[in-house]
């Protein structure tokens, strides 16, 4: 199997970021909140990316921050996918008023911009990582619901699903054995996309001060802490911004490749 160049680049950077996130404790030269120098020191051998607004090593902050950002985004994606796809499949398989009720509830949620609803919820709830993950996961599940319902509606009318129903199979079998395998390729591609939106979402929230709370590091928060330095020509805020965009692009490249491959598999759906 040959991996095309864009996918290889995407895989490399995605792998690199995940590796650094998982092993942050071993890789990061300093602690997350350790003050090691002056504010906004330039790049040097001791501090490869310089220091931040209160003199913490920026490279260490980036690595620890990556851990938080990627962890929250991954958990949020998993939550939104399990919730959105199961509800979407149930709506498609059950049809009737179950479908109507779920779909209209989702429409209601989607009619409010997700950033606004997130800000409202987070301003009255204690901002901890689990709360962040649940809020983001639930809000994003609406998009997953829409996609998985649309895909599953196409599949439920297939004769093989009818055959399974006439055999007397339970709903769980129909959802997980007949529909899910055939809905997988569009869902996997969507998963990559949703992960990227999660990264952007958590970064936005942190930048607005309602996401990950100091002293914990995360990329959006690092941009916020160092944004004033740009006025003085110090690039400290650009480093996390670059990390966010490069992660987004590389995950997208991988998702593209996965989509291409799975659609051409045996009997794969387009």
């Amino acid at each position: 199997m040959r991996i095309p160049l864009p996918a290889a680049i995407g895989l490399f950077f995605t792998g690199l970021y995940f590796f650094m996130a998982i092993f942050a404790g071993w890789i990061a030269p300093y602690g997350m909140a350790e003050i090691v120098g002056d504010r906004w020191e330039p790049w040097s051998w001791a501090h490869p990316l310089g220091t931040d607004s209160i003199g913490r090593d920026l490279l260490s902050r980036m690595i620890w921050g990556g851990q938080t950002t990627i962890f929250v985004a991954t958990m949020g994606t998993i939550l939104s996918f399990s919730m959105g796809s199961i509800l979407g499949f149930v709506a498609a398989v059950k049809g009737g008023w179950v479908d109507q009720f779920l779909s209209r509830m989702i429409d209601l949620m989607m009619s409010i911009p997700s950033l606004i609803s997130a800000l409202v919820v987070l301003s009255v709830m204690p901002v901890t990582l689990p709360v962040l993950i649940v809020v983001m996961g639930v809000l994003d599940a609406t998009r997953v619901f829409r996609l998985s319902r649309a895909v599953a509606v196409d599949i439920t009318v297939m004769d093989y699903v009818e055959a399974a129903r006439l055999r007397g199979e339970r709903q769980m079998w129909i959802i997980f054995r007949e529909i899910l395998p055939n809905a997988l390729s569009p869902l996997i591609a969507e998963m990559g996309l949703r992960f990227i939106f999660m990264v952007l979402f958590i970064s936005t929230l942190s930048f607005l001060g309602l996401g990950v709370q100091p002293p914990m590091a995360d990329w959006g928060g690092i941009v916020k802490e160092n944004r004033e330095a740009i006025v003085y020509g110090i690039p400290a805020a650009l480093v996390p911004a670059f990390a966010i965009s490069s992660l987004a692009i590389s995950v997208n490249l991988v998702a593209d490749w996965v989509l291409n491959r799975t659609t051409s598999l045996k009997g794969g759906r387009g």
């Binding site: 004769d159 093989y160 006439l166 007397g168 054995r177 055939n182 045996k266 009997g267």
Partner: protein, 544 residues
């Protein structure tokens, strides 16, 4: 000037295949095919799917469908090699000298434009006539093709006319620019049998009247025998036999042609009497949200280990009857008695044994099997689900079933996409048998298959009936199939059973009008059958 219009010599057509997980490679679709068509003559190209007949037909327009390349030979139209013609030469050829009639008219028309616009489009594009002349010619063609309201029908949109009418409008479109050659690609295959005969007669008349030459592509030898002067039999991209229609139909020399001519000659002696395993009593049904009864007071019996054929054209309610029996569509009134018990109207309320004993085989085997499951899983699931078989016992039973459907070893781990059309249908049969049913509902199980493959499936079903003592409710529009397999027949028309009885009773005169129409519409493998039938029928097909 000679009379040869189209001369094809040593035609070779290739394409590149991209099998998953393997390197792309070239495959030959058509090899060394040569023929000539004289002015005003009709050549029939016949073969099963994959024989290359459509590809050859399109090559007369120097056209290859996506990825198909014409790599060898010459195609001369009016003495000019069209394979060497540049884009400008091809433009003047297509739609002027050679035109095309596609199989599915419904898919070939632009739904957003009126019929007249589309019929005269090519004529105007080539500046062959003024708009008034072209419209006058189109109206004359509509009249000649027997379309109702020839002056007005051009103002309709494609969805406002029936399938048979649309196919005739498409023929008018092909004839409008006064071409020298028309390529007919299965023009009647998608139509009901009663509609097919009228479209066929209209096409034939138009060919004779206009003196145009034609390539007539079909998989149905009986159809081509009615219109063609010469027939070429193709198989796997190679020529099998080529001769006059009389020669091919009456004195074929090749074994394959002989098989095609004698297809559906299965002799099945009907069984009479016996206790019914299924009694359908006074079923009236309609779909939710509609105010129209699709089934009206349907009553039929199916005796044990026998076959009841439900015959009718599309829209007659025969598939709806299957949905009512399986419980997918609870009826408005009436009851279904199966094996002495009254079945619950909704399948959700039926016991597992009720569900097990009524199995179903579908028309499209492709979508009746989950493409992500292997043959082993597909056949194994009912074994596991109904009988709790696991491990080696299950595997052994799967193999037994595969042997029963004459497929043998090496299929358990294959995916449906890796099977041929006939094999797919066999696996579906095995899945139904795995449940050890008392009755199997066969919904048009052979209509998507090539004639010889369909024959094999019918023989298999008859054989399995003897071994497994299973009853078939056989839904079909094809009377030849019915003759081959049925013990009793119910003819359905507009939701009612219009004729019901044993096979001999139903198929012997005196006939009611509808049964007569249906029986007389089945093409027979004889020269001149079309003219004789059109002259003697009692009733016109509905919707024409």
């Amino acid at each position: 000037m000679s009379d040869v219009l189209l001369e094809v010599k040593g035609l070779k057509i290739e394409a590149t295949a991209y099998p998953p997980g393997e390197a792309p490679h070239n495959i030959t679709i058509v090899e060394d095919v040569s023929f000539t068509v004289d002015k005003g003559k009709v050549l029939g190209l016949i073969g099963e799917s994959g024989a290359g007949k459509s590809t050859i037909g399109l090559s007369a327009m120097a056209y290859g469908r996506g990825g198909v390349r014409i790599t060898g030979g010459t195609v001369m139209v009016n003495g000019r090699d069209v394979l060497q013609a540049g884009p400008a030469g091809l433009r003047s050829l297509r739609g002027r000298e050679v035109t095309y009639v596609a199989q599915s008219a419904a898919a070939a028309f632009n739904p957003a434009k009126k019929l007249m616009e589309q019929v005269i489009e090519a004529t105007l594009h080539h500046k062959l006539m003024s708009r008034e002349e072209a419209e006058a010619r189109a109206i004359a063609l509509f009249a000649r093709l027997g379309l109702p309201n020839p002056e007005k029908i051009g103002n309709r949109y494609p969805h406002q006319v029936s399938g048979g009418q649309l196919q005739r409008v498409m023929t008018a479109m092909a004839l409008c620019p006064k071409p020298d050659l028309v390529v007919f690609d299965e023009p009647t295959t998608a139509l009901d049998v009663t509609t097919q005969i009228e479209v066929l007669a209209a096409i034939k008349e138009a060919i004779v009247d206009t003196g145009v030459a034609a390539l007539y592509i079909t998989h149905d030898l009986a159809v081509v025998a009615q219109v063609a002067d010469h027939i070429m039999v193709l198989r796997g991209g190679k020529m099998v036999e080529y001769g006059t229609t009389d020669h091919i139909i009456n004195t074929p020399t090749q074994a394959y042609t002989q098989e095609l001519v004698s297809v559906r000659s299965i002799n099945h002696k009907e069984k009479i009497g016996g206790a019914p395993v299924l009694s359908v009593k006074g079923i009236t049904a309609r779909y939710r949200g509609t105010k129209f009864d699709v089934l009206k007071d349907v009553t039929v019996d199916l005796p044990e280990a026998q076959t009841l054929a439900i015959v009718g054209e599309s829209g007659s309610g025969k598939s709806t009857l299957a949905r009512v029996i399986t419980g997918l569509l609870p009826p408005k009134s009436g009851e279904i008695i199966f094996n002495g018990r009254t079945l619950a109207p909704d399948f959700n309320a039926r016991s597992r044994d009720d569900l097990r004993e009524v199995q179903m085989i579908y028309q499209m085997a492709d979508v009746a099997m989950n493409p992500r499951q292997t043959v082993g899983t597909i056949i194994g699931r009912p074994l596991e689900f109904y009988f709790g078989l696991r491990g080696d016992a299950k595997k052994q039973r799967i193999q037994e079933l595969l042997d029963e459907i004459e497929m043998g070893e090496g299929f358990i781990d294959r995916y449906p996409a890796e099977l041929s059309g006939g094999q797919k249908q066999r696996v579906c049969i095995a899945r139904a048998l795995a449940a050890k049913p008392k009755m199997i509902i066969c919904d048009e199980v052979t209509s998507a298959l090539d004639p010889l493959v369909a024959d094999g499936i019918l023989k298999l079903l008859l054989n399995l009936q003897k071994i497994e003592n299973v009853a078939y409710l056989f839904i079909t529009h094809d009377l030849a199939t019915v003759r081959a397999i049925a013990d009793s027949i119910a003819v359905m028309y507009q939701g009612r059973v219009v004729r019901y009885g044993s096979k001999t009773e139903v198929l012997s005169p005196p006939f009611d009008d509808y049964t007569d129409l249906l029986l007389s519409s089945v093409p027979e493998m004889q020269l001149g059958w079309l003219e004789r039938t059109i002259a003697t029928r009692k009733m016109d097909a509905a919707g024409n």
